[in-house]
Subunit: 482 residues, 2 copies
């Protein structure tokens, strides 16, 4: 239980607006956006400065009260939901939402943790630059959350995950000290790299309060194409051939199977099939050039690359977006793919990666093996083939509708989850490519990770946060199962 | 003391060739290459496999014997020299020198820790690829050492430090467990990133045994230019202008002051001044294109960029290397700059970084302030301006020759070191940009790092290696001084 004395101390450091106690204001932040995880928090801390975060951490430390750092609350794995027993307080970083500086000459933006991704996109664009990481939740997701989960998205192929874009970091550590590593140093070999350790730590080792982020030149010329291909092997061969011929200007390369495209077109108003051919697989490709790019236009490069690929027997059909509206409509299909899949009934979802060269085999063989092992299911995947990362799903049998499916998941969900994750591990892959561990994957992480990794994770957590006060119940398995 | 029983156990796991006891064979590895640090090691472990490394670590653990991992022994900070008291054993990784695989299609090489950098360069070139990290010690430095020190070099501007090139890692942890993270996964958010933690840890958290490394396309077309500029401000403005006009194809951008060029020409046989103008500062610029590059040649881009810079008043004079021989001779001057500087007598050397935009001010103001504070000294810097990293030196007064200088360093060296490092910290910079901490910088690291950082470094070390058995006396300050 959280004592009145502790709340009074939090109130003293938080100021009048910094401790929210109205249950109606707290309620929206107690569950994840998919409504799978539900927590309690008698109050919500809303710091306005790094110093306030540090002071709050010290009060938490003195009273042994766990804190759950929260940004836009868009976690896919229940990573920002407080525990159900009400033992912890939400620490909302949303009020620390200032862009401290944006320097187009240095290609740097210094943002507080609560800055919303779309806000940074707009600020960068206004300065002739861009922040090259985007994802569906960009209107809610915050910089702090994106850093703490090492977010990915659709531009990783060219620009990397969040890790590649963070140049400096400021954070409050569980002992109440402030780590000031905000200066953007391209080279810094002073001891262990705390920045790298905090990125992807899901708020369990420290509270990210601000970061220096790398910007890139704005897009001066882009071309988006929709291509029909025989299978993921051909799709990957196409990507490799394009990289060799047009260089590192391919920014998007997403693949979808025909059925996902079909379902998506069925549920998203205003979408239409980009190519007439009902190819077994589809690839969405984007080439982006900035103002410094020499040589042919994006469209000329795309046309040459696709003509060459057609010649080489790698593609079945292709359409180039004739204008921005059409380009957006192509992307709309990709971005709505999850919705299209959901329309077919309840499914198990996996966010997985394997070495890129092995991904085509994984996508086809493991889907088939899964359907054979669990009769009546439909397994498939779509997503970031060029990153070796797809979203793999197993749709439950729908013989008698959604109820059958839900019953199937209750009965076989765990076995099917183990089946898919075992295949990922056998391929040397990751059971969490971009969503993190949170609370959803902690059991499978503990089951599948090597003892060396689990022991190291536990040792690091204990070293930073011996009292287990930061984001309890997330990421760190309590004991190795294996 | 290391008991005979312990040595017998090491011999049992190491095999006949794996435990070197001949003092003549050990001797070359007891001192650093600059002969500043001298250690003792009664025997040298030479494992042939990851399993042997793990077995050796377990024997070390059982007997409480510290191990000093060593690659090419080219540390600039005494990072691979065993302690002088003979309490530790050298663990030489040089016999684990196999390139396990090299896949040009996937742009990946899997190397054991003992592979020498130049060997990897050759293997990549033979496959039409390259490994884009190079430095003076490339004929001796090993992959394991380069990873453990997060090495830099002259190609960081475009390709990043070692950290950016390591895609997967295999290591033996201090508890004797093997961390198998060798699979190259572009996205992997399973818990804390052990790979990132081991990179730059200087062998204090684990022994890197192998790594998956990223390759890039071979160079199809390059152009090297030597440019005279007024000052570092103009040099940085030139780089920024070039990046905006020719894009991310500038691979090298090094600056040197006139006196360093003069001294270097004086000591390196066969070198000649690339431009006639005695400009106050010089920049060495390289543009590299791979086969996929569209548009003008490297030379055409360089010419256009320099004509534009001349027009804008940024450069005083310029010469393009007419052929490969001349290009190499330009680089020879840069690569011999340290030798040129050394010819002028004893000096204090600093490997420092500050935010890039602030580097021109730092180079000029701090050098002047240092000379004012320590009359008779000459302070200056040269190096990787585009990375915000230069090698700053303070030459001791030479009134009565080298002896005077050595006496001055003995008397004032510590104060001058503090003066320069204080200026680095005041600028938000790093006192170790690319060389690491080792034993040489541990005192200044402890003096200058914030308590939050020191505490975190100590906590991580203790979590991984509570017995202090891996590379003792390096990187980790025993207690914060500040």
């Amino acid at each position: 239980m959280i004592s009145d004395a502790a709340l009074a101390e939090f109130r003293a450091v938080a100021g009048p607006q910094g401790l929210v106690e109205d249950p109606d204001l707290i309620a929206p932040w107690l569950s994840d956006w998919r409504d799978k995880y539900h927590g309690r928090s008698v109050a919500m801390l809303v710091p306005r400065s790094t110093e306030q975060v540090a002071a709050m951490m010290r009060v938490a430390l003195a009273h042994g009260i766990p804190l759950v750092p929260q940004g836009g609350n868009t976690s896919m794995v229940g990573g920002a939901t407080p525990p159900a027993d009400g033992s912890a307080l939400i620490l909302s970083m949303r009020a620390m939402n200032r862009i401290r500086s944006l320097d187009p000459a240095a290609n740097l933006a210094v943002c507080e943790a609560g800055v919303i991704l779309a806000t940074l996109h707009e600020a960068a664009a206004a300065a002739g630059r861009r922040f090259p990481l985007s994802l569906g939740a960009k209107g809610s997701a915050t910089i702090g959350g994106l850093i703490s989960t090492n977010a990915g998205g659709t531009q990783v192929l060219r620009h990397g995950t969040m890790r590649a874009l963070v140049e400096g970091i400021e954070a409050v550590l569980p002992n109440g000290e402030v780590h000031d590593g905000i200066a953007a140093l391209k080279k810094d070999n002073r001891g262990y790299d705390l920045k790298q350790l905090l990125i992807g730590a899901e708020g369990t080792l420290g509270i990210v309060t601000a970061a220096s982020l790398r910007l890139v030149p704005g897009i001066a010329d882009r071309c988006v194409a929709w291509v029909g291909v025989e299978d993921p092997h051909k799709a990957l061969a196409l990507l490799r051939r394009m990289e060799a011929s047009v260089g590192p200007v391919v920014e998007g390369f997403e693949v979808l199977p025909e059925d996902t495209v079909e379902f998506t077109l069925g549920v998203v108003p205003g979408t239409r099939r980009p190519i007439e051919t009902r190819a077994p697989w589809h690839a969405l490709i984007e080439i982006d050039l900035d103002a410094a790019a020499e040589g042919p236009s994006a469209q000329a490069r795309m046309e040459a690359a696709l003509a060459d690929a057609f010649e080489a027997g790698l593609i079945l059909d292709a359409a180039l977006a004739a204008n921005e509206t059409q380009a957006e409509s192509f992307w709309k299909i990709r971005e709505s793919a999850s919705e299209g899949e959901r329309s077919q009934g309840p499914a198990l979802q996996f966010d997985i990666s394997v070495p890129i060269a092995d991904m085509p085999r994984f996508m086809t063989e493991v889907a088939a093996a899964c359907e054979a092992r669990f009769p009546g299911t439909t397994a498939g995947s779509f997503g970031h083939l060029g990153d070796g990362n797809v979203h793999f799903h197993v749709r439950a049998p729908m013989a008698e509708g959604a109820e059958t499916a839900r019953a199937w998941i209750a009965r076989h969900g765990e076995a099917a989850t183990r089946f898919v994750n075992d295949a990922v591990v056998a391929a040397g892959g990751s059971i969490s490519a971009e969503h993190g561990i949170g609370q959803m994957k902690i059991g499978e992480f503990a089951r599948l990770a090597a003892p060396a990794q689990i022991h190291a994770v536990q040792a690091i957590k204990h070293a930073f946060d011996p009292g287990g006060l930061l984001n309890p119940g997330k990421l760190v398995p309590l004991a190795p199962v294996r």
